[in-house]
Each structure stands twice: as structure tokens, then as C-alpha cells.
Symmetry: C2
Subunit: 281 residues, 2 copies
Amino acid sequence: MRNATNPMLKRLSALVSLNDVEVELLESLTFEMREVTAGEWLWHEGDSAESLLVISEGWGCSARYLSDGSRQLLATYLPGDILGIFELLSGIRRNDVSMLTDGRVCEYSYSSIFTLLTASNRMRSALFVIANQHQAMLAERLVSVARRNARESLAHFLCECRERLLEFLPDDVDGFQLPLSQQDLADALGMSTVHISRTFSALACQGLVRRHHFHMVILDPQRLAEMADFDDHYLNCDKRILATNTPISFSDSAAAEWLPSMSHESKGRPSAEGDEPTASS
Amino acid sequence: MRNATNPMLKRLSALVSLNDVEVELLESLTFEMREVTAGEWLWHEGDSAESLLVISEGWGCSARYLSDGSRQLLATYLPGDILGIFELLSGIRRNDVSMLTDGRVCEYSYSSIFTLLTASNRMRSALFVIANQHQAMLAERLVSVARRNARESLAHFLCECRERLLEFLPDDVDGFQLPLSQQDLADALGMSTVHISRTFSALACQGLVRRHHFHMVILDPQRLAEMADFDDHYLNCDKRILATNTPISFSDSAAAEWLPSMSHESKGRPSAEGDEPTASS
DNA sequence: GATAAAAATAAACCTACGTTATCGCGCCGT
DNA sequence: ACGGCGCGATAACGTAGGTTTATTTTTATC
């Protein structure tokens, strides 16, 4: 794999196979790397949105705060995650986003992102896929909160975290850092901190997980996934589509500008297209 | 307002002010109108996605079905709603979608939609805004299920329905058809049917709503919104952005192709741009 | 209009979770 | 070393909402 100090490049190249032109384009993007600390706000609802953020280190989250003072986590953001895609066109931040831990974020101005989107179908698709993933996670969270009991819900969350981290983790590791306090987990899963604690104990008793402070070990991923009714499909289906370059049958030339991987060049404008040698249609 | 038998035109022109070229383009789109009946599936998760659907009459919903047989409604679709935007680029349906009532849907092939997206910034933005709205509703539903009690939750849902319908309803009406059975509502709000029933009684006792079968009357919208902590912002903020044509400051020409309403023409390709005389930057 | 099927209500009972409170532990600054 | 503080664990208790069963109302079918 290529040198990837550029976080955006790192993330996108994990999602789609980029050609040299695309890599070059990504490497030429200017970004500002910034140190952030736990609890720091990345932005607030209503702020004007002019840049896209990639988390390079640390965890973040978006949340809604209610009038009674409680909050509901809407999403967690892991290293490699890209934030602010949804606001690209509206120009206004939709939720509060803050860091759960110390870390490092990279800021890309929307104008450079627009260049990217215009130049490459695959990268446009990749950003869509990321946005889709977050929508899918949100839906799955709703299912958890609405339909699963505490143990299933927590188990599901742990499975999800593991699956999301797997991509960036060495294969042999069976544990990972889960830098969420029980308060954070409670806010994410719609439970009380006390019950999070209880539920962790229960899962530990069943020999499913082991936890020491922020370090999680999933002892029996299979059984945990079973009890949570966890299916990684919602996290990976779009990824697979991009990976296999599944072409969708369209004759219209307009489609070529939008679809992930049509093999013909788009009509004469600056373009970074070109396909890897994969199963073609 | 213009003749709008074309449901897509009707919806988009309610969202953004379209110019004549755009209207013409929309009117030239071919679509297939289809009668559908309550309970009919529009598509299933995993189906290949090749078209966008506009609900012209009736209500629909998307849902996740769990292994224990229960289901969770993820979204409701009202007349005018556009379905399948998210699948534009992935080409695969992500959730099961079915009709809650008899109705009528219009199908637009993705290829014609791609034409639309390529031709007009504003329509591209409009579709994004609609996708954003659904994401926002999903988030708000999560908040409801996770943080609000039954009365607040139901009240919030009713407020949301009212707000969404308001656009298409005569102003003077204080009642509307809410064609969801208590089972449907329970599936949407993560509660049991009996508790939906109880909660309706409670709301009725407090003089907040009146309900006769599928006909809802919100007796005191203000008080209902208060108790639900309902703020229509999440439904309307993007709409307002489009309406006021707020320009976002970008010097890059690539941005002009993406943003809702930059006033300059995009570079020489077929374009349906042109702006209404509004407050300029 | 008679009948069956579906939806809504109601009452009784139960449990998964919230709430409150207490205690122990590791971390920090003085 | 000390006390303060945030975090997590455990226990006792209360309750919102689930479950079950039965009765009534509404709708659909003929």
C-alpha cells in the first residue's frame, strides 16, 4: 500500500482502488492538521460549513442536546472517518460535534473537495458511500434503542465498533481501545450509566467480553454477534460494491458522470478517471 | 403556481424556485405512474436500484425486520416524498419499503435523474436537501425513542406529521388523515400497541388531540409542540437555505457546479441554470 | 344487513430499566 | 501524604411501559 500520511487518501484508498491520477490529486490537496483535546467542539449546529474534516487520531461524536440537559449521541467518529459530507451542499452544520478524546483532525476546504468531486467519479462515489454508511449506522442505532434490550443493544454497539476498527487494526489483535466513558455509552444507547455498568457485568459473566478501563476484549465475537443480531452487511455492502466495481447498466452518457466506475472517459473535461483491471462488463 | 401533474415537478418546485428551463426539463422527464395497494412492497433490501420513486398518493414506509419477527419503521413517506435518492450511486436498495395505504407512485429511471442532476445545480441541491431531511428525521426519531417518554414521543411524531403535511394542506384545516394503525405507530416509535392506545387517551384527556379512526385533529399545536420539545428547524432549515438562495463564498469554479445557486453559468456544458431575482451576495 | 376479521380499548400483572445512594478506586494538585 | 474529584461498581427501590387476556368497536366481505 502507498504512503498515506494524507488521511483522506488513506481513507479513500481503503474504500476504492484509486489510480495514479487520483492519488496524485489527493496528495495535492492542501489540508490543515490540527491538535484537538477531549471535549473540544469541532462545530455547533447552525455554524456555517466550509470545510470537511477527517479524523486522523482520536474519537469524536455528534450529538443532540435536549432542553432537559440530556444528550443523545447520534454518531461516533473513529480515526479515518470523514465528517461534514452532508453539509457540503447546505453549507450549514446540522449537529454539534465534539471530540471524545484528544486527537488530531485534518481540515479540507470545501472548495478543494469540490474539485475532487468534479474530477473523479470514484471519489464522488466514495464520499457518498461514507455518507450512506453513517445513515445506515443511524438506522441501526434506532433499531437497537427501539427494539433490543440492554444487553443486545450494548453487544451490537461493541460489534459495530469492532467491525469499524477491524479495517485499521492488525488482524491478530482481539482487543481494542474503546475510549467512551459509561456516560458516553449511555448517551449513545439511550440508557442510564448504571445500567450500562450492570450490562457490562452481565456480558462479562457470560464470558463474552472483558474490559479494563478503556480496553475492550471481545472474547467471543461470534456469540456476541449472535445475541445482538448483528450483521455487518449495513457497514460493508456499499464498500463491496465499490470494491467489485459493479457496473450498473445505463446507456445514458449522463450516468457515466455519476456512477462509480463506468469505464468510458467523461466527455472531455478535466478528469482523473481510468480503471483498475477488474472484472469488466 | 404552475400546472403540476408531474409529481417530481410539484415537489421540487415547492422546494426551490425553478426557472423555465428547469421546469421544461422536469416536464420532459418520462415516468411511469403505477397504482399500489396497502401492504404492497415497493422494493426489498438488496434489490437492484434503477429508479427513483415519487409518492403521488398514499403513505409508505421503510422498515427493518428483526429476526424475532418484530419490525422497526425507519421512515414514513407522504405524498410528494421522493424515495431512493440514497441508492442513486450504490445501485442497491438498502431497506424494505412498502405502502401503508393504497396509493399511486411515479417511477423515474435513474438515467433520467442523472440527466437532471447534471443539468441543474438547483435540482441537484434539492435532491440533496430531501435526502438530508430524511437523515434529520431519522436522527430526531432516535432522540424520541431514546430520550422521550411515550407521550412526548407520540406528540413529537404528530407534530412532525403535521409539519410535513402543512406544505400540501390548506391552511385552515386543523385536522388531517394519519393513515397509520396503532400497530404501525408502535413500530415507528418503539412502543407496544396497547401503550400507543393508552398514550392517545392521555393526550386526548389533556385536550391536546382528538382522533377518530385515521382522522387526527391537533387541538392545541402549540402546547403539543411544547410538551414534545418539537422544533421544526430540522425539517425546514435546508428548505430555507434553498429558498433564500444563500450563496456560499467560494472562488473556485468547481464550486459553481455544486452549489445551489451561484449566479454564473457553468462552463459551456448543457445547463439549465439561471437565477430568480433575489437578494444577491 | 349478517358475519367475519381487524383494530382499538381496558384491566391485571410483571419486568426491565431508571433513580438514588453508597462505596472503592485511580488521578491530580498542593 | 492528603483530600478532592471523576469514574465505575453494587445494592435497594420505584416506575414506565411491556405482556397477556378479554371485551368492544370498526371495517371489510358477502
